[in-house]
Symmetry: C2
Subunit: 262 residues, 2 copies
């Protein structure tokens, strides 16, 4: 079992209740990464579902949980022939931290009938890493994954934002692990906020996030392509597409978040 | 009160319960339009919320309700300073038809800090309407709204699909009505399925849909730009952007749906 599998483990207590332990290794400067928390919640929701693949997950971020024990409560809503629906709640100290709707189905191995184009990325050797975070920053998430960025999209690091909300990077877990639905749940929220590239730095809390699993990823590097359409009145959207190593679109997400101050 | 306002009315029974009456005028050949149903559910959810604007709504379509009485049950989950979260369920004959998570907030009138580009549309005089549906088809929705299409995106009507999932049209209600959040809930699901343009006709049921209200629309025509990224294994995604008459992005949606057979 990899460290990530262990950090997202959900232990069944009864048909609707799972115990989890939130790992301090997924911190983004205090709060835990939202994608990591969704991965934990999905471990329970998928275990309780009649189908194996979480094709759609919509999550509201109510309260930032802290590392340590928590629970996931899963409530089945409806199971049909092709899809099943459930509600899942991540609860800590009696308070809901994440409320989610999860739709599961079976994704077959299939050649796409139609696919949009993969993002244009430079070869990985020409991509750039973020500097290691300072230990006191408590950015423990960074050590769990490797991100190699399309250089202009981290120009903001050196005072040269592109002026557009965007972020593109190759992604894999630091520990050898084939990507799966849970890794993808982490991946769709793994990029620095796309608004950094539009010159808006600072803590950018996710309000809600929906992501769709579109195909089961092949082993190897993933490519994450993040963008946004509107920054207005303190709100922004962030869309992330995840492509696998054989060039298939495997996940799509959109989150609505607040623009950071400072 | 317009016919649409009446058809989406929610009458408060108690803090968490609203009576609604689903209108047969929003049928798409039998089932009621999903966007219409979400608009009904939002009337109740927003009335029960501390903020006026439904900035994010994620809905799972569990069961197709029929015209006639139904209920919306709203459960507040958390209210913070900038956003409030609730669960809302549309229930008919004791069974949940739609399960939703609704996030409300206050959208200020603001100039965007950044905006993507509006879709490229021909002038409205050069756009084309769909033929009137046959009375026996029970497509009553069409009479509620005016849609003027970018002609190539309805080439599928005459055996000339573009080969890509896309659909673009000007939209307004047939009865004079300024667009608001409820009209937008209808608008994001008002286009023919984008897969028609990729040569995949037939009934394309929505499995789930998330939409974001990004700004309050100005009076006048809306522009709907629909597209998709992947059609694979019987599933497709449909993204719709809604732009208002002064060129602002006012709504964004994504739905996951099944490809029709036949």
């Amino acid at each position: 079992m990899t460290k990530f599998d262990e950090a997202t483990q959900a232990i069944k207590i009864d048909d609707q209740t799972y115990d989890v332990c939130l790992d301090p290794g997924y911190s983004i400067g205090g709060p835990l990464n939202g994608g990591y928390l969704v991965a934990v919640l999905l471990r329970a929701a998928v275990d309780a579902a009649p189908f194996a693949h979480p094709v759609s997950t919509s999550a509201q971020f109510l309260k930032a949980p802290v590392p340590g024990p928590a629970r996931v409560r899963v409530e089945p809503l409806k199971a049909g022939r092709t899809a099943a629906f459930s509600r899942a709640t991540l609860i800590q100290d009696g308070a809901a931290a994440i409320e989610a709707l999860v739709t599961t189905a079976t994704l077959a191995e299939a050649e796409p009938d139609y696919s949009g184009e993969a993002p244009d990325m430079p070869p990985i050797e020409q991509c750039a890493k973020l500097p290691d975070p300072k230990p006191e920053s408590n950015m423990t998430l960074n050590a769990q994954m490797e991100l190699c960025f399309d250089p202009p999209t981290i120009g903001w690091l050196h005072g040269r934002p592109t002026g557009r909300p965007e972020s593109r990077a190759y992604f894999r877990m630091s520990e050898e692990q084939d990507p799966d639905a849970y890794v993808l749940a982490l991946a769709v929220d793994a990029l620095p906020p796309v608004v950094f590239s539009a010159g808006r730095r600072g803590w950018a809390p996710t309000v809600d996030l929906t992501w769709n699993l579109r195909a089961l990823p092949a082993p190897g590097w993933l490519t994450l392509a993040g963008s946004g359409r509107l920054i207005s009145g303190g709100w922004f959207d962030e869309e992330v597409e995840v492509w696998d190593s054989v060039g298939r679109l495997v996940a799509q997400s959109r989150q609505l978040a607040r623009v950071g101050r400072g």
